[in-house]
């Protein structure tokens, strides 16, 4: 068992971890303090022949102290936590100039949608990945998170990022990865019988590599749209994620306005 968190690879990860370790130290101290005191009292004041307990009803001074001290500690913790929470979750202060993708959850898979050549979502030139998301390193990524059926929860432990995907809502979330690599995307909300199979990969690539990959995808999509017979193998370039058509299931648009069930 491990009380230490695995290292985080997002820009805000260390902020979360810092508060976590502060709370760990404080609660750890309280834990050892109270438990040791408890054990000491049990030993020290155990019944012995002829002993009698002292007739004490309490102490106002003690009550005031142990009301005020925890109060101050927890309020300080809350004030420390608030700006970090705000930075991570408040859409109004999300970083500008993010790279945008759409991520749609459904039983039991994730579909990532890229805007394609025109930079607009929900257009014919969009291209999608299944159970995989390729993103550039060192750049804020803005995800429009949606769900098509039930509530799922986007969870990438290494980014310290979690957000429920709620049908009927499109929820913006962001992160900025500081290290390339492949990170597991999991579903953290019970979503049906296949809940535990709903894993995917967030592949953080170097900027240049990502741009090259994106250009290939855009071109491939344009080729399909241009009526040129495109090879169905283009998915191979997307690593182990398969490329699916942006048009084939046009009805199942992630940015739905209710009614595409």
């Amino acid at each position: 068992m491990d009380w230490l968190l695995d290292p985080s690879v997002s820009t805000f990860g260390p902020d979360i971890d810092r508060i976590y370790y502060i709370i760990l130290v404080i609660t750890g101290a309280v834990f050892f303090g109270t438990e040791l005191l408890l054990v000491y009292f049990l030993f020290r004041y155990r019944h012995r022949e002829g002993q009698r307990a002292e007739y004490i009803h309490g102490s106002t001074k003690a009550e005031v102290i142990w009301t005020a001290v925890p109060f101050v500690i927890v309020v300080v913790l809350a004030f420390m936590s608030a700006p970090v929470w705000n930075r991570i979750k408040n859409p109004e202060v999300f970083p500008a100039d993010s790279y945008e993708v759409m991520l749609t959850a459904r039983q039991f898979e994730w579909e990532t949608r890229y805007a394609g050549a025109d930079g607009q979502f929900e257009t014919a030139d969009d291209f999608t990945l299944l159970n995989r998301m390729n993103v550039p390193v060192d750049r804020p990524i803005l995800i429009h998170l949606a769900s098509e059926d039930v509530i799922h929860s986007f969870f990438v432990y290494d980014f310290r990022l979690k957000q429920d995907a709620v049908p009927g809502m499109v929820i913006p979330i962001w992160f900025e990865a500081i290290q390339t690599g492949e990170y597991t995307l999991g579903c953290a909300e019970l979503c049906g019988t296949g809940h535990s199979t709903m894993d995917g990969i967030v592949a953080v690539q170097p900027q240049a590599e990502f741009e090259a990959w994106e250009a290939t995808q855009v071109a491939a999509r344009q080729a399909v749209l241009g009526g040129v017979l495109a090879s169905l193998d283009i998915g191979a370039e997307a690593g182990n994620g398969a490329v699916t058509s942006g048009l084939a299931e046009g009805a199942a648009t992630p940015m739905h306005e209710h009614g595409d069930f």
Binding site: D164, A188, H195
Partner: protein, 593 residues
């Protein structure tokens, strides 16, 4: 001159007051209006459900420890575990029904139904509840609720599988889970149980306000009664909110309404708001009576007045009040407005303060005491030790940014079990052992009680403490097979370890069951006051007759007057007249320490 209870009286008239009316078997044991019998009925029912909930947990732990391995005993039908291998849909039913049974059919009726019924009239010196027939009605409403919930395992599609929280829209339609009728039975059962709880709460509140014995002022009430009183208020006001939600979810499933169906304009988050607006007070419904029991038993074991009685009462009230404005902390990741998340963080984290006050007061009660290590006392001290852990782990989740990685992981599973098992259930063991004489007239076996305690305490911590760690490493809850995630595979040895610990923990409970059942017949006769305690119930015979007290008790002091200087004994019954404090005459007290 007041009537003085003597040993002779009670021995000659073990059922004083009952000789007036001969009740038939059915009126006496089945459709009884006697609060003690109803308490016993709740006790047997909820202990059975506790056993069932525990059994479901062991089956779950088998799957988590050894995914894909056939169960050692292959007795489950094809629809649940063909060839002994647990199906994912059955696993989801296990998750759901374990939570449902434990929360609604075990812990809640044990704390509220059993101790509420047994203790309220006895500790306030009343003959019975204010509405004995309503009391009977509330038990006989809980029984069909339990049967319906049980039956749902055997209907087409199996039992509900959307978690005990039944989040919409997963729960709104069978097409998402494969569970149709089972989910509806879940809703109907909880609706009945909710109605049963509300009628119980009306009864408790009225009884405590109206039927207190002369001299029993509010601040002379035992903390158990205070806790049950405030709990009953929470039940009264929280349950109807759930009822509204249950009805809407049921019509969404059966009639085709659209309250929670997003494709037709419904709001899935509305269910979560309704559920947690009920659900957070519910969490305190499941812990406040336990805190009352623990305060009572710790003072008794330490032979000392409860430290800071008034601040204990105010802390209970503060927790209850705060519980209405913290429900959003269950929804930090739900897509609710992040500003609300921040507000709820402040209200939530403040709840740590009254909880801390209670812990420090318990420690203060032990300080300079004269501690007798009885079985109930050990369980109560374990409550304090484990509640500290459960309370402190709550601080992590209250801090919204830290909640992001640990929300919906095994960290929360550890937290809830430290509060509800380490907390509530240890208090229940304590309470059952402590008040056993008032139920059955005998004492439970102390040796076996201590063996059960030590085994449970160790196995419990081995099972649940490591869950904090695997949660911090990112293991999500409610996973059918954690090994499907590559990054969770290194944690699998811990899952195996936890599973073995749970099996041991489960096995130890049979010691309690045997001790509980056998002591009814074989237990040592208790006498009216085996723990040498102060509160009113200990002036009545064990078990008290129909009507409880031969004469209306009159109360002269608070319930925790232990070790009063100058008094001959280290306890004084609340009902002993003032002059008796110097030369007490509770000859009836038999010591058992």
């Amino acid at each position: 001159m007041s009537h003085v209870a003597t040993k002779t009286d009670y021995d000659l008239l073990p059922f004083a007051g009952e000789h007036h009316e001969e009740l038939s078997f059915v009126r006496k044991y089945i459709f009884s209006t006697d609060h003690k019998t109803i308490g016993k009925q709740f006790l047997f029912m909820s202990l059975l459900f506790l056993l069932l909930g525990g059994t479901l947990a062991t089956v779950m732990r088998w799957q988590l420890g050894f995914p894909g391995t056939p169960l050692p005993v292959d007795i489950l039908p094809e629809t649940m575990a063909p060839g002994g291998i647990i199906l994912p849909e059955f696993y989801n039913s296990l998750v759901t029904m374990h939570g449902t049974f434990m929360i609604f059919f075990a812990i809640m009726p044990l704390l509220v139904g059993v101790f509420g019924n047994l203790l309220i009239p006895l500790q306030i010196g009343a003959a019975d509840m204010a509405f004995p027939k309503l009391n009977m009605f509330s038990f006989w409403l809980a029984v069909p609720a339990g049967f319906i919930m049980l039956a749902s395992f055997f209907v087409e599609g199996g039992a509900a599988g959307a978690g005990w929280t039944s989040y919409a829209p997963l729960s709104t339609s069978g097409e998402f889970t494969g569970v149709y009728l089972g989910q509806q039975l879940w809703l109907i059962s909880l609706f009945l149980l909710g109605f049963s709880s509300i009628t119980g709460a009306v009864n408790y509140i009225t009884t405590i306000i109206n039927l207190r014995a002369p001299g029993l002022t509010w601040f002379r009430l035992p903390l158990t009664v205070w806790a049950l009183f405030i709990t009953a208020i929470l039940v009264l006001l929280a349950m109807p909110i759930l009822a509204g939600g249950l009805i809407m979810l049921l019509t969404d499933q059966t009639l085709g309404t659209t309250f929670f169906k997003p494709e037709l304009g419904g709001e899935p988050l509305l269910w979560q708001h309704l559920f947690w607006y009920f659900g957070h007070p519910e969490v305190y419904i499941l812990i406040l009576p336990a805190m009352g029991i623990v305060s009572e038993v710790i003072a008794n074991g330490a032979r000392k007045p409860v430290f800071g009685y008034h601040s204990m009462v105010f802390a209970i009230a503060a927790i209850a009040l705060l519980s209405w404005i913290v429900w959003g902390h269950h929804m930090f990741m739900s897509g609710m407005n992040p500003r609300l998340g921040m507000t709820f963080m402040f209200t939530t984290i403040v709840i740590a303060v009254p909880s801390a006050i209670k812990v420090f007061n318990w420690l203060g009660t032990l300080w300079k005491g004269n501690i007798h290590f009885t079985t109930p006392f050990l369980h109560s001290v374990a409550f304090v030790a484990l509640f500290i852990i459960g309370g402190l782990s709550g601080v992590f989740m209250a801090s919204t940014p830290v909640d992001i990685p640990i929300h919906d992981t095994y960290f929360i599973v550890a937290h809830i079990h430290y509060v509800l098992f380490g907390g509530s259930l240890f208090a229940i063991f304590s309470g059952i052992t402590y008040w056993y004489p008032k139920l059955f007239g005998t004492l439970m076996n102390e040796t076996w009680g201590k063996i059960h305690f030590i085994g449970t305490f160790i196995a419990y911590n081995l099972a649940f403490f490591p869950m904090h760690g695997i949660g911090l490493q990112g293991m999500m809850r409610r996973l059918y097979d954690p090994t499907l995630y590559a990054y969770l595979q290194p944690l699998q040895p811990w899952n195996v370890f936890i599973s073995y610990s749970v099996f041991v923990l489960f096995a130890f409970q049979f010691i309690f069951a045997a001790n509980f059942l056998l002591s009814i017949w074989k237990g040592k006769k208790a006498g009216p006051n085996p723990w040498r305690a102060n509160s009113i119930e200990w002036s009545a015979p064990s078990p008290p007759p129909h009507g409880n007290f031969e004469r209306m008790p009159v109360v002269y002091r608070g319930p925790y007057e232990y070790s009063v200087p100058g008094a001959r004994e280290d306890f004084i019954l609340q009902t002993d007249p003032p002059d008796s404090s110097v030369a007490p005459h509770h000859t009836s007290a038999s010591t058992s320490h």
